[in-house]
């Protein structure tokens, strides 16, 4: 096997391992019990899969055609930059939307904090008349009656 052949083999191997990684993360997304754990599979390992694959493609083009593709590198940077943020945003949204955790969850550290923040904000905004919670509206109605 020549040097070029070896490099191409390595490139293909990288892509294949990326594919294996993707399969693993797909299994993860199927098997994990709730959103919060699934997102681990959905973002972390699939990001790795993409990184490996794109790196493989980059090496392939570099050795095969002598073409150093900036677009592929930019793609790697982009995915590396955005995938964690996307995961973070989804899970934040899920937590605020009160998606249930699995029964095996041991601790929810944010439980008190979020509750407190919400209460504070509601209290503040009701004072300024900005928004009003549904319970408050009911109360006011009763008082008027």
């Amino acid at each position: 096997m020549t040097v070029d052949g070896t490099i191409e083999f390595i490139a293909a191997l990288l892509m294949l391992s990326g594919a294996v990684m993707a399969l693993l993360s797909a299994i993860g997304i199927m098997r994990f019990p709730d959103v919060y754990t699934r997102s681990h599979a959905g973002t972390k390992s699939s990001t790795l899969a993409v990184l490996l694959t794109l790196l493989g493609a980059f090496i392939h083009f570099a050795s095969d055609q002598g073409f150093y593709s900036v677009r592929l590198l930019l793609g790697i940077v982009f995915v590396f930059l955005t995938a964690p943020v996307a995961g973070h945003v989804i899970i934040r949204a899920a937590y605020r939307a009160n998606v249930k955790m699995s029964d095996t969850t041991i601790e929810d550290e944010l439980k008190g904090v979020l509750q407190q923040v919400k209460q504070d904000a509601e209290a503040d905004r009701t004072e300024t008349g900005e928004i009003m919670s549904e319970d408050k509206k009911e109360e006011l109605k009763h008082q008027e009656e």
Partner: protein, 94 residues
């Protein structure tokens, strides 16, 4: 040899996407589905990289970036919708 490896990689990606589609369909909550959709988007990116390697053409490389951008924006939009009920706010609220 390399051909076989590329085909195998594509097949594995195909299986992974199929599994994610199942999760998109059954996923009990909305965030589940979005996690799966995001993953499909990211995997399609790598699929296109593999396809362009196996065709030996550079014409598809732009698609990689555009697809990644679209996946990111759609994920952000979805999660903002879940979190606040709106996608674009009219005023800055902090």
């Amino acid at each position: 040899m390399i051909e076989i490896m590329l085909t195998l990689a594509l097949t594995l990606y195909g299986i992974a996407i199929a599994i994610s589609v199942i999760r998109t369909i059954i996923g009990p909550s909305l965030p589940d589905r979005i996690v799966a959709l995001d993953m499909i988007g990211v995997m399609l990116v790598s699929c296109i990289a593999i396809i362009s390697v196996s065709y030996g053409t550079k014409a598809f490389l732009e698609v990689i970036l555009i697809l990644a951008i679209l996946a990111f924006i759609s994920t952000i939009a979805f999660s903002k919708y879940i979190e606040r009920g709106t996608i674009i706010d009219s005023r800055r609220d902090d």
